[in-house]
Amino acid sequence: MAEYKTEPLKSWNKAKELRLKYYKEYQDAHKNGGLRWTGGAWSFDAIPAGLGRDVYNITGEPYGASLAFDKQLSKECMEAAEAKGWARDLCSYMRNYWGSMYLNKYAFGGEYPSPDFCFQDHICCSHGKWYQHVAEYKKIPYFCIDVSVGPYEDLDENRLMFVVNQMHESIEWLEKITGRKYQDDLLIEAVENECRSTSAWAEVCYLNMAKPAPLDEKTMYSLYVHGTLAKHSKEIADFYEELRDEVKYRVDNQIAAVPNERCRLMSDTQPPWGFLKVFRYLENFGAVSIGSLYTFGLIGIWEDKPDGTWGPRTTPMQKGESITTRDQALRILADWNLSKPEWQHFYDPNIKTRMMLQIVKQWGVDGVMLHLNRGCEGLSCGIMENRLGIAEAGVPVMTFEGNMGDEREFDEKRVMARIDSFMETLGIDMLQKAQ
């Protein structure tokens, strides 16, 4: 018998609509005289927003994940990329994306909608090369901002200006390649929206500290994705604020994601998208994955609070600051993004371990499941160091090998067997007769 009540998320349908609308608007942009551009989920999408309200982007990682979810199309894409001579151990999102481009097939029907330009930043080595190749293949212009200035805790004026100056340069470049006049008011609006959406998403994750957890990670994957699509958009910022209010309601009324919650887990990195059933399998044990540094901090922006806890970063608007100039907007945008939790481990795995242990402590996590993700060199970087740090802190931890976007590297039976062993280690039996 269920211990907690549960009910579907009211925002679910809106989340689906927004996501499909995003891909459709990108596809149709040219019909209405608009512009299309491509880059990663971490690109500074607020900057091209200054070109006009008819500018639409497609971000590569969520698009690669959408392709991965369609196993047949993903296989075709992988094979198309490999047929071009690309190695099988490259980023699997990138191979999916490139395959879609080579095959001229769009995951949402029709032909691959060619972008007009690429706009990217460079912290993960795959990211820079990804769009360089798209630009060369499609013969379109490409701009990349180098953000590798070290961890946020070491940020100083020189490091910040290294990024801000490139941002200024990128605006001149955008004007030149599009022939459009740049509008600072649209940039300012986009920066405000980005701060709002990424802080609101962090608030949603913060609310998942409650017991029972109002959201499980499988559901969170379908929600955090909006921030990876267009974190600068008003629509997404508004949606995340609505979602936050709904999650707050669930917390206040003890509405659980998993009705029989008795064990709280945390994962890491992208999941194997074709096998999200792993998270449903956990429910057989009354286990809920409350999230991860990945779901919390890929897009969510956080800060250390004076009481030593970790919480959503206070936006400039919440501080009463008003943004009035291009330079001020760019400085805020750079500083905001450089504090992104998922950017920190590129410099030192210990920073990531520290944040993971903070989540374990603050969210009441009983065990950690680390996905040794062969598909993402960037986010898997240092993950065994994280495992060691977590284990040394006395927190039970298991690893499983897979690939976020290439199902050929995931052994479902073996992973489920390993989960069985891990749950047994935690002293948690399967609830159902299904064992």
Partner: protein, 260 residues
């Protein structure tokens, strides 16, 4: 009280029957493609050795990769859990368990009570398991027993660069063409397997004493290589391939008492 533990491994099925805490019957059979059928035959074999009828068994616990295929089992336990219980029962001083079977290697840190503290399992690759040695012995046209023994006669260490069994076989052929002795090739293969297993075990940490179980623990070449790689000696129980089944039978005793 009579209980049974059935360990359905990827290659063989092992059964242990316990009567009042004492092993009275054992059975072993190739798993084949029909695991359920093989398990039934194996259980019958063990019951015959114990001089009991199958219906005399009060509680059966299955373990191993194919544990869910055993219809006679009252419940299951994972191979990690069964290894821990079985090993600490026969070697109470063991705190690290290394189990290397045909297709899987495991490193387990255990408590004095036989509880799993941490574990690591090899990933989707056979290069750190017994089937790798078997495949290489075939390439050298030797029995597995011969292959393990000659490794001890090797006088030099040759690194094997291949990271997978398929390429390793090509490398063995190249070494043969280079007139490398079979003794040295055998050691190179065992060193390669040991290196994989050692790195997996180091993930959970080495705490003395270290028990080595599983069928591959019969291979002296592998034991020697792993001992050098981990710079430690092992305690190796008799009937090392039955430890998982023994652990399952012991869990069956506990469950029968209603303690679990």
């Amino acid at each position: 009280m009579i209980t049974a533990g059935i360990d359905v491994g990827s290659k063989t099925i092992k059964v242990v029957i316990l009567k009042d805490g004492r092993v009275t019957g054992r059975g072993m059979k190739a798993a084949g493609l029909e695991q359920a059928e093989s398990a039934t035959v194996c259980l019958r074999q063990a019951a015959a050795e114990a001089g009991i009828k199958e219906s005399d068994i009060e509680q059966i616990v299955s373990t191993g990769a194919g544990r869910k295929a055993v219809s006679q089992a009252n419940s299951q336990i994972t191979e990690v859990g069964a290894d821990a219980v079985g090993t600490v029962h026969v070697l109470p001083e063991a705190r690290t368990v290394i189990d290397v079977g045909a297709e899987e290697g495991r490193g387990i840190k255990v408590s004095a009570e036989g509880k799993v503290v941490d574990f690591a399992v090899n990933e989707k690759c056979a290069a750190g398991a017994g089937s790798f040695a078997e495949s290489m012995s075939r390439a050298l046209e030797m029995t597995l027993e011969e292959f393990g023994q000659i490794s001890l006669k090797s006088t030099r260490s040759i690194p094997m660069n291949a990271q997978c069994t398929v390429f390793a076989e090509s490398e063995v052929v190249s070494l043969l063409h280079a007139e490398t002795s079979k003794e040295d090739i055998s050691r190179a293969v065992h060193d390669a397997i040991a290196s994989r297993v050692a790195s997996m075990v180091r993930r959970v940490g080495i705490e003395q004493k270290v028990a080595l179980i599983g069928g591959v623990a019969y291979n002296p070449g592998f034991v020697n290589s792993l001992s050098r790689s981990l710079e430690t000696e092992f305690v190796i129980p008799d009937d090392r391939e039955y430890i998982g089944a023994l652990g399952a039978a012991l869990v069956a005793v506990e469950r029968s008492k209603g303690n679990k």
